[in-house]
Amino acid sequence: MTTTTDIEFMIGRIATGDRQAFLSLYDATSAKLFGVCLRVLDDRADAEDVLQEVFVKVWRNAGHYTANGLSPMTWLITVARNSAIDRKRARKAPAYDIDTVSGLADGAPGPEMAAIAASEAARIGACLAELEAARAGAVRGAYLDGMSYAELAHRHDVPLNTMRTWLRRSLQKLRECLSR
């Protein structure tokens, strides 16, 4: 399986214009990134389109990767997630029935990544567990489904400003917990 170091190396090679490294990175990460796009967009055609954009961005921006201080998978997932959310927000009618693709089945990252992800997930999972269930759900909805404040307010049936206040307080508590 592909390790974090492998992916970091591939990104470094891509920054020098290495086409083979780019294809290797695609083979190693496209399924995960496609999963991320699908989760946010809940539409195969859109997700396919966005995945193309994501890899074009990766090809173009690989040289700036080291400057952002992120681990390689975090960078790739962030690019995929942000691109998918941008697409989602650009769609005419906002989709509210997003929970159709919310299967939380176990993924298949490489062993090293899985280990890191598992401990980090446990950490943020534990911190989210300290929040009220609905508020933790709002944070997850924002991250995993790319929901906007308006969509979250709709889903939780509260006014928009209430949702903002909720979420910001939740984030403050989360930060306190994560800093412990």
Binding site: S30, G35, Q52, G69, G107, A142, R175
Partner: protein, 245 residues
């Protein structure tokens, strides 16, 4: 919760909102302007992104359709084909060759006959079932260091190219592949991998024969058996225009 626990908490919450992509376009742009000048803010953002990404561990990987990979390749590397354009090759590889060591080879074999820019005869005309000798076409390809020299001639029947490798060989485990780069075509067309034999006959479909008049031939370094993609993948070792002989 009117009093924030410690300074910077506001900025941290904004970084989290930014990481979650909850900001509107205006807020986002404003935050990015601050990010650009604050290393501390970038570090805080990275902390949030790393914390949140753990939630993505739950997202099931889904293999994208197989057609997506070549589509992305085409989108990104499509541009690279321009590297193979006629002016690029003639002015680059061949021009470089003239300036460098292979002056004799190129000058003697190519320049005296070169009529680039003039109307070319195109496909040899058949008269009474035989190809007129006068309409013979060919190209002489030489690498910049002169190590690889290949002469290509249109066979008398007009249905094949006779390829004679005067010197040079593929690197161990690699192959030399001959390409036709025609003005009318977007991408180079493979004419085949050069066999081990010094002289070889490569079949030439009529559609390709018709393009010879205004084309350039090139030899690239490819994996054994030839390019796996149908397009050149390795370095251009030698190139030269097809000229009347």
């Amino acid at each position: 919760m009117t009093q924030l626990p410690f300074p910077g908490d506001d900025a941290s919450t904004e970084a989290a909102e930014y990481a979650l992509h909850l900001m509107g376009p205006g807020e986002r742009a404003e935050f990015e302007a601050r990010l650009a000048v604050s290393g501390a803010l970038r570090a805080e953002l990275a902390r949030w992104q790393e914390a949140f990404v753990a939630l993505a561990a739950d997202i099931v990987p889904v293999a994208p359709p197989a057609a997506l990979r070549p589509a992305i390749e085409g989108r990104i590397f499509g541009k690279e084909r321009r590297r193979w354009s006629l002016p690029g090759l003639v002015g680059g590889t061949l021009g470089g060759g003239l300036v460098a060591g292979a002056v004799l080879v190129v000058a003697v074999l190519v320049l005296p006959q070169s009529r680039l820019g003039m109307p070319e005869p195109g496909v040899p005309e058949r008269s009474g079932g035989t190809v007129r000798e006068a309409a013979g076409l060919g190209a002489d390809l030489a690498s910049e260091d002169g190590a690889l020299r290949v002469a290509v001639r249109l066979a008398a029947d007009g249905e094949a190219l006779t390829v004679t490798r005067a010197s040079g060989a593929p690197a161990p485990g690699r192959a030399l592949e001959l390409w036709l780069i025609a003005e009318t075509e977007e991408a180079p067309i493979s004419l085949g991998v050069l066999p081990d034999a010094r002289t070889a006959r490569l079949g030439l479909p009529p559609a390709l024969a018709a393009m010879l008049g205004t084309a350039v031939l090139a030899i690239s370094d490819e994996p054994e058996g030839g390019s796996p993609t149908g397009a050149p993948t390795g370095a251009v070792l030698a190139a030269g225009p097809i000229t009347p002989l």
